[in-house]
């Protein structure tokens, strides 16, 4: 989906190059309008909502791509949140903004874990969450997450008992500055390692008992958390500039 989105953007930019001066002016005006609408709103504005307000025939994707480009290096950036767009202060200015931070309810460790499982494994049933955590989910945990509106009941699985499935919301994407679920940190690696399946994948490496004298001995240094990167469970952090 990401790839195709990129492809679309490129396509539209080349569209812009192909435009005649009248078309360009038209697009520039649409960009201003979209800018005004999205800037005015505290909530992300969906492309559908934009379409209702912009003149007919406006290429919204092209306008938003151009707008995003304009704001790329500014103190305020245009970000995509699912199917919607929003202006948000630039991430690298977080240090400056802490003064505005509103006191946020701290999630318990259990709630965070459940949130991560719902985000990475969605759509996921309560039984599947419990299978991953190996423990019953306390009644309040899911309730708390539903209350934050980061998590929602999506539907029901078409299996016996028709259990309710859970997933994340657009608010979740907005809160954690994600364009889409695929952008969750480490998503591809986790998927590649088979760690997002409900059952052990057949290609999951079955470890061999250590018979090799080269293996760690007791006097060697223990591995630390940093070594998680080597396990493929963490991608090396890429720092944005």
């Amino acid at each position: 989906m990401n790839d195709s989105a990129n492809a679309t953007v490129i396509q539209f930019l080349s569209d812009v190059a192909d435009m005649n001066p009248a078309e360009r002016l038209h697009l520039a005006e649409a960009v201003r309008m979209a800018e005004a609408i999205v800037f005015a709103s505290a909530e992300p504005v969906s492309e559908k909502q934009l379409a209702q307000r912009l003149p007919d025939g406006v290429n919204i994707a092209a306008a938003m791509a151009e707008l995003q480009q304009i704001y790329q290096r500014r103190g305020v950036n245009l970000v995509r949140v699912g199917d919607a767009w929003a202006f948000r202060t630039a991430g690298d200015l977080a240090f400056l903004m802490s003064r505005d931070a509103v006191q946020q309810k701290k999630l318990s460790r259990a709630a965070l874990e459940v949130l991560a499982i719902i985000a990475y494994h969605q759509p996921v049933t309560r039984a599947e969450i419990e299978d991953i955590r190996g423990v019953e989910t306390s009644k309040g945990t899911l309730d708390t997450l539903l209350e934050t509106e980061w998590v929602r009941m999506r539907g029901r699985r078409r299996t016996p008992g028709r259990p309710v499935t859970y997933g994340t919301t657009e608010k979740f994407l907005d809160h954690f500055a994600l364009e889409e679920i695929r952008d969750l940190p480490g998503m591809d690696e986790l998927k590649g390692a088979g760690l997002l399946s409900s059952r052990m994948p057949s290609n999951f490496s079955v470890p061999q008992p250590p018979s090799d004298p080269d293996l760690l001995t007791e006097d060697e240094d223990p591995l630390t958390d940093i070594d998680l990167e080597e396990l493929g469970l963490l991608t090396p952090r890429v720092t944005d500039d």
């Binding site: 505290a42 559908k48 931070a101 965070l112 809160h175 999951f204 591995l223």
Partner: protein, 280 residues
Amino acid sequence: MPEALDKRAGKPAPMDRLWAEDENARGVSEPALLIDVAGFEGPLDLLLHLARNQKVDLARISILALAEQYLKFVDSARAIRLELAADYLVMAAWLAYLKSKLLIPKQPGDDGESGEELAAVLQFRLKRLEAMRDAAARLVNRNRLGRDVFARGMPEMVIVEKRNEYSASLYDLLTAYAVQRQRQAITNVRIAKRGVWSLKEARDILIRLIGEFRDWTALDQFLTQYLTSAEERSTAIASSFAATLELVREGAIEMRQQEAFAPLYLRNRQNAAKTAEAAS
């Protein structure tokens, strides 16, 4: 159950102390020893902690050693009459089974999963849990709206789709319903804790355990060993037997017994079917 645990835990001590070298030096009745089981998010979390204590990465841990450590922990907890949540005991039953599979070499003609395969499943679950835990940590450390990045402080209008003149979330709706129905229902019913296993409890536990097994298993041995105190043994056996019959009737599991009073062997029908399929 966790509530009871919390109360008992009182001032929790780091549970690593349970594995202190001079185990025998500590009297069983010593009141100072309290284990912070409440500090763990369930048995898998505890296993992950133990695995970390092996000081090697997850791909290299000894599952047998891990199982033994866990069982030792459960035994110690029972010795000091610490009430453990059912989840911990179900895991103990499973690990006891795993341990027996790992210690006894695979018999020819045994078409079930080998101990190594079961160990790999456990390893997979530990890795998966750890991965989710890391993911959660990375998630909260992202730039977050209202903490690191901010929305327009002075919104000039609220964009509303026309049809959404009224808004309510599904959560609002369900909360309103649940609160209202609850208010109307008589809520002051308290179910006293009882010393018997209900059929439902036994059934739930059986389903959770049996899901893990593909071959014939004398499940009741592990069940009664870890899930019950001596006084509860007969009710546990009776309820789990009744639940077993029910599951057999529903076609969920199969059961066999060599002769009268011999151990009852159970297996999951679905898993067994899958194995047969894979073998053919």
